[in-house]
Symmetry: C2
Subunit: 329 residues, 2 copies
């Protein structure tokens, strides 16, 4: 077992001082090219890797980003987080950061966890997924000047902090326009109760697209909590009242329920979901697809911008979703 390779080992090997090795790593421009090369050679020869703990102790920065992993809420939409996390890990890696997971059962405990993570691990930043109106977590973090980004707009105060989001309204509008283009007129919407920012946004896209095409959206929408059973129930209701020929849904769960409700209806009713979950892909459900990898990448961009002191970087990013067309549309 070879003994541990430290900066001193490299320095000795390249016949320079520790500081010069450190400079090669952290400020290459102040080292003469020839020396730099010699040090680099020694580094790769010895397989040297800077010890993160030692570096952190001196600089106070851990190069660690925290992300919460949730207890698979609804279930069907769980994979959204999954894919987002994967993108986050990948991009963070490229930027020299690592992703640390944490959980918390409620907001209060979550804030206590922040305190712990910051105190013991000196985390550099947080990524929050899905914030609510007047979220205590963002307030806490902002109070303490802890860098953080949310995936999801703070609907009450758009300039409160950096965020990345996907334009849900644009997604449902695109879905609606597609249905209009294929000849549908009575296009319904299955969504969430008024008051959730995300839900209202998605409904607005459908509403405006219909209006723009000269169709009156009145009476063509239903609201409920998310879930397959709920979607099925509301779709049955729609069928017996307004008899739509197509429906746009705020989630794949609702869309799945809708699909079950229309199973034997002739002529077939078109259905478009939201999130393009694996389930949608598996059963051929058309769905609005969020660019999750891209969203994760932009989160990391914003964070590194803040961490490296580039305050001129834009602090809000709104991404456009795409429509994954499958046979249900």
């Amino acid at each position: 077992m070879a003994e541990k390779v430290t900066i001193a080992t490299v320095a000795r090997h390249a016949r320079v001082s520790r500081q010069t090795v450190s400079n090669v790593l952290n400020a290459p421009h102040i080292v003469r090219e020839e020396t730099r090369q010699r040090v680099q050679d020694a580094i790769s020869l010895l397989g040297y890797r800077a010890n993160q703990a030692a570096r952190q102790m001196r600089t106070g920065r851990s190069r660690l980003i925290a992300a919460r992993i949730e207890p698979t809420r609804d279930g069907i939409n769980g994979s959204v987080l999954d894919r987002f996390l994967h993108g986050l890990t990948e991009t963070a890696d490229a930027a020299g950061y690592r992703v640390l997971l944490y959980t918390a059962t409620d907001d209060e405990r979550e804030v206590a966890t922040y305190d712990d993570l910051l105190g013991t691990y000196e985390l550099d930043a947080f990524v929050l997924v899905g914030t609510k109106y007047g979220d205590p977590r963002t307030a806490w973090l902002a109070d303490r000047d802890v860098p953080f980004v949310t995936f999801g707009r703070p609907w009450d105060a758009l300039d409160a902090h950096p965020w990345v989001d996907v334009d849900g309204a644009a997604g449902t509008a695109q879905a609606t326009r597609h249905l209009l283009a294929t000849g549908h007129r009575r296009i319904a919407f299955l969504g969430w109760p008024v008051g959730s920012g995300v839900g209202d946004d998605r409904r607005a896209g459908w509403h405006d697209a219909l209006s723009a095409a000269g169709v009156d959206p009145a009476g063509l929408h239903r609201e409920t909590e998310d879930g397959v059973a709920e979607g099925q129930r509301l779709m049955r209701d729609l069928l017996t009242t307004v008899a739509p020929t197509a429906v746009v849904c705020a989630s794949d769960s609702l869309a799945l329920g809708a699909l079950q409700a229309i199973r034997d209806v002739e002529p077939p009713v078109s259905v478009i979901g939201f999130d393009d979950t694996p389930v949608a892909a598996a059963i051929g459900l058309a769905s609005v697809s969020q660019p999750l990898g891209e969203a994760a990448a932009r989160c990391v961009d914003l964070l590194t911008g803040v961490l490296d002191g580039n305050h001129q970087t834009p602090t809000h990013v709104l991404l456009q979703p795409t429509l994954a067309l499958r046979h249900t549309a």
Copy 2:
């Protein structure tokens, strides 16, 4: 902004030395109760938290466990990883460890990532999900005496390293027995090609349960790569050849395909999937459910056992799945 609270601050406040504070934290039994209490009071009063970087530099242990997050392979089964990770984070947390994510596109890069993670972050252990025959990753880790646990048996050498797994054969056997008990005799099996440990195991459970009941399993099974379309194709084939009245599947993806194939068949064919993914719950598909939270917890148990030097702890854990009965069964 109050200045940083270190072990020295606490020591001064409790009128003891740094080392005594350290002992209160790491070896409470060698400190007099009265002193211990005084130090504890100072700690909570000042809100002191041991700096992980400094501790790590001295001890060489990071209290960090690495887990890989995969790029949502098939998709439908992706949420398994999701739930496992959540459990892992929760249990690790309770044991004083944190979970760090990493990705890698192929095995070679993954091993390089190990090297990096170990070198710069001094990770304490790895959790691998799903290993293959002669996996290069486990060999690499074992060579270097890096503690690790796999979720999934090493089918070629059961004693090679600590592992946690779910008894897939028991799961399919249970599913098969349930179908037998409800009067089915021609119970088919949709599985994966011979040669994958997991797939062979799940098929064996079905095979043995049928044989034990005096039913000849010959000709009643089909093999293919995982996927909804494949499941549908093979189920159609089964229907036209052996006309089973029920089918047990090696995954929910296959089961979903089977469901589509039997949509209009009368009398209805019973279907049972595997993994109890959110999709199964959503559409009412009966499925064998893996205790993922429990599995994650046992992984952490095994790791902490190794890390804390308790070599007498069992190094293999085989958990029993349960059958989630829904209307397709």
